[in-house]
Every structure is written in structure tokens, then in C-alpha cells.
């Protein structure tokens, strides 16, 4: 058997089905997300024995320059059909920021430039919608106030699928422009957060749509593993000593931890000693509080923070994120809105990267952990910047400097700026 046919064999057999994270009950690999017996979340069950036979660093390195180079560990059966350019974003050695924070080996994983909608959601959505097409869906949906909606609407347009985006009725018009442009059906639901949230869950149960973060969630969530895979490959096939990850639903952090461990299990790296650290905004920090108080359960909170893209008061995977942080001997911290804005400005000023509020939270927590000595100066640390600052400009509009206004004369220019070096 030649190598090529061995590869396609693996692709056919790599997903065994879905498995309950709580009771272990097995299900076929269809569009479902909750165990019918214990209501635990379902996760993709891979045929690692088969994957192990075929996967190698060389095989990955010869793949496309996108997250699809890790297709052997992603929950799709055939080749990708949508979102072909998602992922493989730059891992930047942040020397300037590192110098300010006293960290000698600091890296920024820059998903502010993810394709096509400038956030890490393009990873999860590329996989969710490729899988939704494989499962025969003709309509996709999501409930979102920002990044997820943008990404689902864009990918649905590319895939020529019907698209329904649910938003709370009081969301500002400007917030939805980045979704409306792709011409989905945007449904604005009157009512408070709990009403809107409940209706979306009901709709997902009644309609035969691929609701990306509900019935497609087991596939969707796996896309976040690619942030770990890329980090390892870009560091020269090594897992970092520390990562700092923003925590919203908790899925991103959980899957980054899973990604490192999958690589180790498959022999692509020798060991994983990575400490996984979580970052939350003080105004919505249910996971950070549970960590601080030594609790094993999450107490829901009502969000009040400018970091809206990570303001999830009752996170679906909060429990698992907490577990991953404890397993890896990492930490979770929270920062104020003021620290978040300073974090955005610090990253922009030192590295030329404009992050959205979640990125500000991540940088501010990174700073806090470094100051507390939880991230030592000589250890390798990767901070995940998951969305672009152009999407949350209102957060920093009053925190950036003003222009120097002058009259159209050299005199006015020189008096206003008083620059010493001159060409004469």
C-alpha cells in the first residue's frame, strides 16, 4: 500500500463517534451535543491508533499554510470545503513587550489577522461549517453579539448556506454591521439576556439547522486545538512553559490544553510541562473566582465589563477550564476595565498590534502574572490575542492621545512640535 492511500484510509476512520465527557456513553458522529442519559457534554472520539500510524511532523509541515495542515486531528471526514485559509497566523517574538514586562521569551499568537473575519472564531467556524456541510445541513445559525456572528455569516456566504444570526434586541446597530454585510437573516430578539438565550436553545432543538455552538459544538470546539498545534510547530516543535488564554465559555482554554496533550500522546513532542493560565475581566470572572476560592463549581454572574467578547456569566465549559488550569498547575486571574484598556495600549505601543478588549485582558493578566513571579523571566510564554481592535474601537476612543492640530505654515508646524533634528 502506498503512502497516499494509507492517508485516505486514515481520513475515513479517524472519527469513531461522539463520547460523553461525563459517563463515557458513545454516540454516532452526528449533530448532537448532550448525552441523552446524563446530560453531559459530548466530545469527538478519535481513532488515535489509526492517526498515530500516519501522523508525523513531516506530514504536517507539507500541508497547507492554514489550520487544515492538522486535518488528521480535526473532526471532518473529507477535505475542507469552506474556510480554507483560517489559521496559521503569526507567532510573534514580542521583544519590546517582553522587555517592559521582564520576560525574555515572550510570544504573541496573533489571531487579530485570522482569515476572513479577524478573530479566532474563524478557526472554529471553518471546522463547524465544513462539518455541517458533511452532515447535509443547508442552514447554519448562531447566537452572538460580535465575533462569532461575523465569522458564521462570512463562512455561510462562502458556503452558500442559509444563515440565521440571533442577537439581543437592544444591541447597537453598529455592532451588527460586520455580520449584516454578508446578508444573513439577523433576528433581533426582544427581552433580557436570559430570554434571548433560552429562545435560541429552544430554536436549536426544534429546527434542523446547524447551530454552530449548540448541536455542532463538539466539532466546532475542536477548532481551537489548532492554536496549540500551531504554537508548538512555530516554536520548533516544543510546547511553551506558559500560555495565557482569555476565558469566555472556557472552551478555548480547555482545547488548547487538549491540543498540547494530543501532540504528546501521538509522539510529535516529547513532553508537555505547559502551565495554562486563564484571563478574565473582573466584571465577569466566574472562573477566576472559582479558582481563587478553591471551588469545583462555577457560580454564574451578571457581566459588567467592556470586554464584551468574553463576558459569559455562566460559561458552558467553565468547569473544564478550571480543571485544565489546575491539572497544568497554571493560574487564573482577573483585571479591571482600566487595566484592560492599558493592556490594549501597551500591546499596540510595544508591538504594533491592535487587539480587541479580550486581548487587553490577556495582556493585563500576563503582566499581573509576571509581576507576581508566576511567570519567571527565562521561561517561554505565549499569550493568545484572539480578536482585532478595529472591532471594539469604542473601548479605547477616550483613552488614546489627540492629534497635534496646526495651521498650514512651517512656523505653526515648528512651534507646535518643537522637533530638534532638522535637515540643513
Amino acid at each position: 500500500m502506498n503512502k497516499k492511500s494509507a492517508a485516505s484510509d486514515t481520513l475515513k476512520q479517524k472519527i469513531k463517534g461522539l463520547k460523553c465527557r461525563e459517563c463515557g456513553k458513545l454516540y454516532p458522529a452526528v449533530a448532537m451535543h448532550v448525552c441523552e442519559f446524563c446530560f453531559g457534554p459530548l466530545e469527538v472520539d478519535y481513532n488515535y491508533d489509526e492517526i498515530k500510524k500516519i501522523i508525523s511532523r513531516e506530514r504536517i509541515e507539507s500541508g497547507p499554510k492554514s489550520l487544515w495542515r492538522y486535518a488528521d486531528l480535526l473532526p471532518v471526514e473529507g477535505p475542507p470545503t469552506v474556510g480554507l485559509y483560517a489559521g496559521f497566523t503569526p507567532l510573534i517574538e514580542a521583544k519590546n513587550l517582553g522587555a517592559e514586562l521582564g520576560l525574555k521569551k515572550l510570544y504573541i499568537k496573533n489571531d487579530t489577522v485570522n482569515h476572513p473575519t479577524l478573530s479566532f472564531k474563524d478557526r472554529v467556524v471553518a471546522i463547524a461549517i465544513t462539518r455541517a456541510k458533511e452532515l447535509g445541513f443547508t442552514a447554519v445559525a448562531c447566537a452572538s453579539t460580535g465575533n462569532l456572528a461575523n465569522s458564521v455569516a462570512a463562512h455561510a456566504a462562502e458556503a452558500r448556506l442559509q444563515c440565521y444570526v440571533f442577537i439581543p434586541g437592544d444591541l447597537e446597530a453598529g455592532k451588527i454591521l460586520g455580520s449584516l454585510i454578508y446578508a444573513p437573516t439577523v433576528v433581533a430578539v426582544n427581552g433580557n439576556y436570559d430570554d434571548v438565550n433560552r429562545l435560541c436553545s429552544e430554536v436549536a432543538g426544534e429546527y434542523n439547522w446547524a447551530f454552530v455552538n449548540i448541536n455542532i459544538r463538539p466539532y466546532y470546539a475542536e477548532g481551537s486545538k489548532t492554536l496549540a498545534f500551531e504554537t508548538v510547530e512555530q516554536l520548533g516543535w516544543k510546547a511553551p512553559d506558559h500560555v495565557v488564554v482569555p476565558v469566555a465559555s472556557g472552551s478555548l482554554l480547555t482545547k488548547i490544553w487538549k491540543g498540547f496533550n494530543e501532540f504528546r500522546m501521538l509522539g510529535l513532542i516529547d513532553s508537555v510541562t505547559t502551565k495554562v493560565n486563564g484571563a478574565q475581566a473582573e466584571g465577569c470572572s466566574p472562573v477566576a473566582s472559582a479558582f481563587k476560592e478553591g471551588r469545583d463549581f462555577i457560580k454564574p454572574v451578571k457581566p459588567k465589563t467592556i470586554a464584551k467578547s468574553i463576558a459569559i456569566g455562566n460559561p458552558a465549559d467553565g468547569y473544564y477550564a478550571l480543571k485544565a488550569v489546575r491539572e497544568s498547575k497554571g493560574s487564573i486571574d482577573a483585571v479591571t476595565d482600566g487595566e484592560t484598556i492599558e493592556g490594549i495600549k501597551l500591546l499596540a505601543r510595544t508591538e504594533g498590534i491592535f487587539a480587541e478588549t479580550a486581548g487587553g485582558v490577556t495582556i493585563a493578566v500576563l503582566k499581573k502574572l509576571a509581576m507576581k513571579g508566576l511567570i519567571p523571566p527565562d521561561e517561554t510564554v505565549v499569550a493568545y490575542i484572539t480578536g482585532n481592535g478595529l472591532k471594539t474601537q469604542e473601548a479605547v476612543i477616550n483613552a488614546v492621545g489627540d492629534v497635534v492640530r496646526i495651521d498650514p505654515s512651517m512656523d505653526s508646524f515648528e512651534k507646535s512640535l518643537n522637533i530638534k533634528e532638522k535637515n540643513n
Binding site: H33, V34, F37, C38, F39, K121, C142, A143, S144, T145, N147, L148, F166, P168, Y193, D194, V196, N197, R198, C200, S201, E202, A204, G205, E206, N213, I214, R217, A248, S249, F297, K299, P300, I312, G313, N314, P315, A316
Partner: protein
């Protein structure tokens, strides 16, 4: 007939009240408990409501009016 899976969170002062029994009598819904953890100061129950979607929505409204937290099993969906 609709099926809707919810998670009910009890504040301390509601833990002793037979709230699930009550909604089963007040509305045309079948309540089917799958998982629960009730401690001294906090408690939650995960269950399925089976019935007409209008009755399910009324039952949820009533649960909230009784002072317990009701969320879909997926918790927060809006990302």
C-alpha cells in the same frame, strides 16, 4: 411535542421548596430529572421538560417567578 433540557439553580432560601413538583401540576409539562446536586447553601437540578412549547415557556416563566435561576442545559449560548 417539544423537549427542552434545562438547568435550575436554587438560591439558599429556595432549596427546600417543591418547585419542580409545582410546575408539573400548574402546567401541562412532564418533568424528567437527570442530574442534581443539592448542598446546604446551593443546589442545581438538570431536567427535561416535555410538552407543548407554549406550556414549556410558561413553566419556565413561572420557575423564574418563583425565584430560581433557569437556563438551558447549554448555559450561555450567546458568544
Amino acid at each position: 411535542m417539544s423537549h427542552f433540557r434545562i438547568r435550575i439553580g436554587f438560591p439558599e432560601d429556595k432549596i427546600t421548596e417543591p418547585i419542580i413538583y409545582q410546575i408539573g401540576h400548574e402546567f401541562k409539562v412532564v418533568t424528567n430529572i437527570r442530574k442534581a446536586d443539592v448542598r446546604e447553601k446551593t443546589g442545581w437540578v438538570e431536567l427535561e421538560l416535555i410538552g407543548d412549547s407554549g406550556e414549556i415557556e410558561k413553566a419556565i416563566e413561572s420557575l423564574r417567578a418563583k425565584g430560581v435561576k433557569v437556563e438551558p442545559i447549554e448555559r450561555n449560548i450567546i458568544e
